[in-house]
Symmetry: C2
Subunit: 435 residues, 2 copies
């Protein structure tokens, strides 16, 4: 297919405002994708879920292995709209870049991969069965994906999966994440009465804020999580893992400044990299109690609330940790409401698996430089849905079109056309390795 035709199709889907949070353009985008797959000879289907439809495609060639490709066709809202210098759904081309909401996240990656598949078919270089799963609710937290996947377990069965969520990193090197950290998101609420009191009563009335703070310090103290068993199931790092960490490019000053930080927690680059990829975290995402405006109010609040997100590393299990935490706080005598608002398991695919090796070698072939390899992303994606619910053995995040100028989720999202082209090529080269 002529590259300009690929760009034309890409621009077409960019022009449809498929904002899941606003319920706009969803069915139109699903229909567009379904037709696109059909036009390219891929068996496509719009599958209904309890929420937005999934577009599902299959291309079977009786190969010994099957690869599942996950992307999403919904996009973030465009606000603040007045900060856009290019129309959010105009797909404007300028100085080698294309501007639109979803250009990088995730329509660019989705489309580049389809065209890569087409190129591989055309050149007889496709040697793996393919399944495509395009979700329409990723940007609102994939509320129906788990149930949908479990319900269609056999349909989506595969040997490997490639997820979205990769990009072009430092020195124009593609990023390959061999997994993800898991997540346990909890909310703690302490309530001691029905109404805020005059703070002179603090001498005799219990304080929900202190109760909560004492609980938080029981959960983490001296920079270590104190929940029994928290660290028990962490997979030790092997030499290959250590080598991947050692190779990770990390410019301390540049990163520190780009994050607007005064300091990192550690001074040594090796420490920073090891912690970023292999340490679980216990982050206070939010805390609130009492009077938070300017000036003074002498009040003893009636309630206090905190949200904690734990990032987990293989093979910590959020469910097990949550249960342990509840028992632990209960045994310490804390009177708290404890709710889990999110759980995702960590995933790490070994760097010497076939899937990882094919992805790495095709990246070198395509980009002419070594990819940036992450043992796992420091963030979380629902990768474990595929590995745990579908039993897919290997999962990685790779082949993305965004770069450090892409501004995913922000105004003036864009990608470089060159990166789009390279992602098409990378897909094709990757698929050709399956023979």
């Amino acid at each position: 297919m002529d590259f300009n035709k690929m760009l034309d199709e890409y621009k077409k889907i960019l022009k449809i405002p498929s904002i899941s949070a606003k319920a706009t353009g969803i069915n139109e985008t699903a229909s567009y994708l379904n037709s696109l797959l059909k036009n390219m000879g891929i068996k496509g289907e719009i599958m209904h879920t309890s929420g937005n439809p999934v577009v599902y495609g299959e291309y079977f060639i009786d190969a010994p292995r099957t690869l599942l490709v996950y992307n999403h066709y919904d996009v973030q809202p465009i606000d603040p709209e007045n900060k856009w210098t290019h129309a959010p759904f105009g797909a404007t081309e300028e100085n080698g870049r294309i501007y639109a909401r979803g250009a990088a996240d995730n329509k660019g990656t989705l489309m580049a991969r389809i065209f890569g598949v087409m190129e591989a078919i055309k050149d007889n270089e496709l040697h793996v069965n393919l399944k495509f799963l395009y979700e329409g609710e990723e940007e609102i937290g994939s509320p129906h994906l788990k149930d949908f996947i479990i319900k269609n377990k056999n349909r989506f069965a595969a040997d490997d999966v490639i997820m979205e969520g990769s990009q072009i990193g430092e020195e124009n090197r593609p990023v390959i994440a061999l997994g993800v950290k898991g997540l346990l998101y909890i909310e703690l609420k302490s309530r001691t009465g029905t109404t805020d009191l005059h703070s002179s009563l603090a001498a005799i009335a219990p304080s929900p804020a202190w109760n909560l703070i004492n609980a938080l310090k029981s959960i983490q103290d001296c920079e270590k999580v104190q929940i029994p068993g928290f660290y028990d199931n962490i997979t030790p790092l092997c030499n290959k893992d250590m080598n991947i960490l050692k190779d990770y490019p990390f410019n301390i000053e540049k990163m520190r400044d780009s994050y607007g930080l005064k300091n990192f927690k550690f001074n040594e680059k090796d420490n920073l990299i090891r912690e970023l990829f292999t340490s679980p975290t216990c982050n206070i995402a939010g805390i609130i109690s009492g009077y938070i405006e300017e000036g003074t109010k002498t009040v003893l609040p009636a309630e206090a609330m905190a949200k904690i997100d734990f990032r987990l590393v293989p093979d910590q299990d959020p469910e097990t940790i949550f249960k342990s935490m509840k028992g632990y706080l209960h045994n310490l005598g804390f009177d708290l409401e404890i709710n889990a608002l999110g759980m995702e398991n960590p995933v790490r695919t070994a760097p010497d698996t076939e899937l990882a090796q094919k992805m790495i070698s095709s990246a070198i072939q395509t980009y002419g430089s070594k990819p940036i390899i992450m043992l796992n992303s420091p963030g979380t994606q629902p990768m474990a849905l595929f590995t745990r619910e579908l039993g897919i053995k290997n999962a990685i995040s790779a082949i993305g079109v965004g770069d450090n100028l892409s501004k995913a989720h922000a105004p003036n999202e864009s990608i470089s056309i060159e990166n789009f082209k390279l992602a098409v090529e990378h897909t094709k080269n990757f698929l050709s390795k399956f023979q």
Copy 2:
């Protein structure tokens, strides 16, 4: 003076909406009071401050002692206005009560005391020189009172002072507070960067929320304040103090329910009373960081803030404690912005001082029952301004007209006319003891 005339005058001042927060009716009320003093033969004067005027009066009889009477003529705002069933400035009489904003706090007390003075003069029972200080900014935190008092130090010099802030308590017994707890109100701010970050960076970026929580736990742990020297200057209780505590009426179930609490911190009545009046507190009045709405957001906040109010007991000094806390947190290595938003010293007048004894015996004479005596109020008033800045030796809070139905600061504030009458009488009886 005929009691109905007293009520008429009282209603007049109630009808002037002297809301300091809204800057309404202030000058009109000051003028009214100035005229009232003059009409009663008291040398009155409107004194300018950097804020609302003070109305000052003097009645000198060449007595050996001088008593300063402090009240305030400003009132709280009336919102929520739609909750008032009587006009907020109507001074409506109904079922033996008078309804108006300021009826109890503090115009009722102010007026009853004036009339008590008049009665004492009329019956030749006044045996003490009097100074009257009526403030117009109490309800907005007395921002100019300290400077004003220091500037007019000689003018306001006295042997004793009676403050506002008393009321009629359980079993219709008048409350006499022999002092107040002090206050140290601080704000702690932790800032680690310029912008909130994705929480996956919690592995390497410092957390202002944890920093703050660690600081809070360094300030108080195991229910004890850990600031060096915090407890050093606490005056030990003597037997007389213990007897006053023992006599304090405290119905655990009734209080607990009235505060809407599940439980108090202690089960024993004696403990509750001792803590309420004689223990310093370290209360978290407010804390905020990060995401506090419904649901989840995986964010590492850039800043966190907490407000703490310490209630102090004699002779803890807020300034000394604040300095010690700053040094202590600094030595522990905390990177925090620490500001003091309020400081007031505690005051306790010994129960066997002449002032206390006169107040107690006149209360028994007037009410026919033993007054409820507090070693000091569990709350704070700027009493130490008078004792420390003016060097007045004895200060107490007594002779108030509000009762447990009065709803000071809330809609439908009211007092019982009978309590107004008794406060007039109590003032007169109290003054008669100075011979």
